[in-house]
């Protein structure tokens, strides 16, 4: 049985809240979210792959990685960590950048407030995603469309290959 992903939109406050339960102890869920080796295994929706270049999970540190597509496309991203409370919560800012981590300011920044807690099933993660201003929300929404669309097409490619 898979756990349900709940998404609450709060467009007025430019916020999206994502909640998901996991059938594993909170310590393991925390590791999967904060260790590069684990993140590389799940962060990018298939068939995209996450490839970590550097990871410094400390306040002020950052994770530099790329999402590699099935046709050789690469999107570099960095996540700057602000506050960390071990096995409980961390806040971070996600941006697009180049392979050296120079932030591309033409893309909006996305702020995360991720909370981890023990739950009946094992653990629950609540991700609160917020954006800086109205223009950002608009752009993020448009990016989401394009990203989602291309990912959807890639998934279709994979499906078709499997069936061939």
């Amino acid at each position: 049985m898979t756990n349900k992903t709940e998404i609450l939109k709060d467009l007025t406050n430019r916020k999206l809240n994502v909640t998901r339960a996991f059938s594993a102890p909170v310590e393991k869920v925390w590791r999967a979210w904060t260790e590069a080796e684990q993140l590389d295994k799940w962060w990018a929706p298939r068939p995209w792959k996450t490839i970590t270049k550097t990871m410094d999970f400390t306040p002020g540190g950052f994770w530099l990685y790329c999402m590699a597509g099935p046709n050789g496309e690469k999107a570099w991203c960095r996540v700057d960590f602000h506050t960390i409370e071990a096995v409980k919560s961390f806040t971070a800012t996600a941006t697009f950048c180049d392979e050296n981590g120079n932030v591309d300011k033409s893309f909006p920044a996305m702020h995360w407030d991720n909370r981890f807690q023990s739950a009946a099933t094992g653990a629950e993660v609540v991700i609160s995603i917020s954006f800086d201003n109205d223009a950002d929300l608009e752009k993020i929404v448009q990016m989401g469309f394009e990203q989602g669309f291309s990912m959807g097409l890639s998934n279709l490619d994979e499906l078709l290959t499997e069936q061939a």
Binding site: I7, W42, L137
Partner: protein, 101 residues
């Protein structure tokens, strides 16, 4: 200039206008009474909403009433579905990672 539904919701005044119109159809004058800005500013927002197809207008006697275009507003939900799909796929993969941890 290309207009889409996300430009409609990108501005707080336009979101407020949509929220008001969601309750019932209104004339531009009735709408303007809800805002401290000039009537001109409100009509500019209505014009953008119309260009985004977020609202439609209907003539009723001498008055023009604006309605929310529910069909178009669903595009926002479509985007959210995409967003949801990305996170769901991600989390399903995380389930697998957790099994092996």
């Amino acid at each position: 200039m290309r207009r889409d539904i996300f430009q409609a919701i990108a501005d707080p005044t336009r979101r407020a206008i949509l929220a008001l119109l969601a309750i019932h159809a209104m004339t531009p004058n009735a709408l303007a009474e809800h805002f401290n800005t000039s009537r001109q500013a409100v009509s500019k927002h209505i014009q953008i909403l119309a260009e985004c197809e977020a609202v439609t207008q209907k003539q009723n006697g001498r008055e023009i009433y604006y309605h929310v275009n529910a069909h178009k507003m669903k595009e926002v939900d479509k985007w959210l579905d995409t967003f949801r799909k990305i996170w769901e796929d991600r989390f399903d993969q995380l389930d697998d990672v957790l099994k092996d941890l």
